[in-house]
C-alpha cells in the first residue's frame, strides 16, 4: 500500500484549519461553560433567596412590628440553614428601606449575580430579598474546567503531554511512545 503524502500547500491549509477549529471549539466551550455556570449560580441564588424569604416571613409573623430590628439573629438563623457563607444578602422592606442582615453584607466593588424572591405573608408582599454571589465563582469554575480540559485533551496525543498538569505522559513499559 502506498503511503499518502500531503503536499506542503495542503498541509499548511490544513494546519490553519485545525488551528482555527480548535480556537473556535475552545471559545465555544468556554462561552457555553460560562453561561451554564452562570445560570447554575443564578438558580442557586434564587433558591437561597426563597429560603431566606421564608425565614423572614416567619420572623414577620412572630414580630410584625419590629421584625426589621432582629437582623442580627436572623443572620445566624440564615447561616444555620446552610446558606453559603460567601453569599451576600440584601433585604428591603416594602417601602424600600434596608434591613441589615449582619454577616451577609455585600462586599463593595465586587461584581455579583443576584437572585431575588419576595417575602410574602398571607400573599401580601412585605419585603424583597436579594441573594448575591460573586462572579468570581464562575471565573474560578471556568479555570477549573480548563484545567480539566488540559488533562483530558492533550492526553489524546502522547506527544503533547508536556502541557498536562499531572506531569508528562509516560508510556507503560514495553510500549513505545514514538
Amino acid at each position: 500500500m502506498t503511503p499518502m503524502r500531503l503536499t506542503t500547500w495542503f498541509r499548511r491549509r490544513m494546519a490553519v484549519l485545525v488551528a482555527v477549529s480548535m480556537l473556535l471549539a475552545w471559545a465555544a466551550l468556554t462561552v457555553g461553560f460560562h453561561l451554564q455556570e452562570r445560570r447554575e449560580l443564578i438558580r442557586t441564588c434564587r433558591a437561597d433567596a426563597v429560603r431566606v424569604a421564608l425565614s423572614i416571613a416567619e420572623e414577620i409573623q412572630r414580630r410584625p412590628m419590629l421584625w426589621r430590628y432582629d437582623g442580627a439573629k436572623m443572620s445566624d438563623r440564615i447561616a444555620s440553614q446552610g446558606v453559603r457563607p460567601a453569599t451576600a444578602i440584601v433585604v428591603r422592606d416594602v417601602q424600600g428601606a434596608s434591613v441589615d442582615i449582619e454577616g451577609f453584607r455585600p462586599a463593595s466593588g465586587v461584581a455579583m449575580l443576584w437572585g431575588r424572591a419576595p417575602v410574602l405573608v398571607g400573599n401580601v408582599r412585605m419585603a424583597d430579598v436579594w441573594v448575591g454571589a460573586s462572579i468570581g465563582a464562575v471565573v474560578a469554575a471556568i479555570g477549573d474546567a480548563r484545567g480539566d480540559l488540559r488533562v483530558w485533551w492533550p492526553c489524546c496525543s502522547p506527544r503533547c503531554c508536556m502541557w498536562c498538569p499531572s506531569g508528562p505522559w509516560r508510556a507503560p513499559s514495553g510500549v513505545s511512545s514514538a
Binding site: I42, W67, Y69, R92, W114
Partner: protein
C-alpha cells in the same frame, strides 16, 4: 432570512440564560415613627423582657397611663436600633452599649442585675454540676448523665449576653462554645422564650438561662447549682454568683417626657422591693 432570524433567537436565548434578577434597588431611609400617645412601647433583649412584662403588669395594676406594651424580643442590638429610630420608646438591653451605639446619643438607664444560671428539664437526674462537668458537656465529651439518661446541651446564639456573663465565671467554656458553633454539634436557640420552651419540654435539655425568667414566667425548669453554689438573688448581692448581667433601658432624650412617669415608678422603693421577689436585684440595691 430564516437562518438569520434563527441565529438571532439562539443568541437571545443564550443571553437570557445568563441573566440574573438585577442588583437590589437603592435603599431609602426608614420612615420615621410617630409615638402613639396612648402607649409606651418597649422592646429589645429577651433577657429583660420578663422583667419588663412584670413592670408593665404592676404599672397597669396601679391604673397608670399611658399603657405599657412589651413587644417580643429582638435582642439588645435590635432594642438599641429600635430606640434610636424611635420605633419604641424604651429599648431593653442586657449589655453595655457598644462604641458605635454610644454615638446614637441614647440615654442608658441601668435597672437590675439578672443571674445567668444552668437550667435543665425538670426530670434531669442531677442537681449540681462542676465546672469540669460543664466543660465536658460543651466539648461534646459528655452526652449522658450518670444514670445513662441523655444530656442534651442547647446553646443560645452568638449574640446572646448569657454566654458572656456565664463565661466570666467559667472562662474555659468560651473556646468550647465557639468550637461547638463551628461543628454544629448542638441545637442553637435564638430567643429566650424559645429557650424556656425547649428547657421545659425537651427531656434531658440543659443550657444557660435567666434566673429572673425562670421565676417570672414560672417555668417548670430545674436550676442547677454549679460547684456546689446555688444561684439566688442573695448570691448576686453578696457576689458569690458572679455570672450576672446588667439589664437596662435605653431611650432617646427627647422621649424622656413621655416615659418619665414610668421610669419614676421603676425606680421607686416599692418596685425595687418587688424586683427582688421576681428574681432580679435592682441596680440601686446592688450598688448599695
Amino acid at each position: 432570512m430564516v437562518p438569520t432570524r434563527r441565529s438571532f433567537l439562539v443568541v437571545i436565548a443564550l443571553l437570557a440564560a445568563g441573566c440574573d434578577d438585577g442588583p437590589p434597588a437603592p435603599a431609602v431611609a426608614p420612615a420615621s415613627v410617630d409615638p402613639d400617645p396612648g402607649l409606651i412601647r418597649l422592646a429589645g433583649s429577651g433577657a429583660m423582657t420578663p422583667l419588663a412584662a412584670e413592670l408593665a403588669r404592676a404599672w397597669a395594676a396601679r391604673g397608670e397611663f399611658p399603657r405599657v406594651v412589651v413587644e417580643p424580643s429582638v435582642g439588645s442590638t435590635g432594642g438599641v436600633q429600635a430606640a434610636a429610630d424611635g420605633a419604641v420608646d424604651l429599648g431593653l438591653v442586657a449589655r453595655p452599649l457598644r462604641g458605635e451605639e454610644q454615638a446614637t446619643g441614647l440615654t442608658y438607664l441601668p435597672v437590675a442585675l439578672d443571674a445567668v444560671v444552668v437550667a435543665a428539664h425538670r426530670d434531669v437526674p442531677v442537681d449540681d454540676l462542676s465546672s469540669a462537668d460543664l466543660e465536658r458537656l460543651f466539648s461534646g465529651e459528655r452526652t449522658r448523665f450518670a444514670d445513662g439518661s441523655p444530656a442534651v446541651l442547647v446553646l443560645r446564639d452568638r449574640w446572646d449576653s448569657a454566654h458572656g456573663a456565664f463565661e466570666r465565671m467559667v472562662p474555659r467554656l468560651a473556646p468550647l462554645r465557639e468550637r461547638a458553633y463551628e461543628t454544629r454539634r448542638f441545637d442553637v436557640v435564638f430567643h429566650d422564650d424559645t429557650m424556656g420552651a425547649v428547657l421545659s419540654s425537651s427531656i434531658g435539655a440543659i443550657g444557660l438561662f435567666s434566673l429572673g425568667a425562670v421565676s417570672a414566667w414560672k417555668l417548670p425548669i430545674k436550676v442547677l447549682s454549679v460547684d456546689g453554689v446555688m444561684p439566688s438573688v442573695q448570691r448576686i448581692q453578696d457576689g458569690t454568683w458572679p455570672a450576672t448581667r446588667e439589664l437596662a433601658f435605653v431611650f432617646k432624650p427627647e422621649r424622656r417626657g413621655r416615659v418619665q412617669g414610668f421610669l419614676d415608678f421603676v425606680t421607686s422603693r416599692d418596685t425595687q422591693a418587688a424586683m427582688l421577689a421576681w428574681g432580679y436585684v435592682p441596680v440601686m440595691e446592688a450598688r448599695r
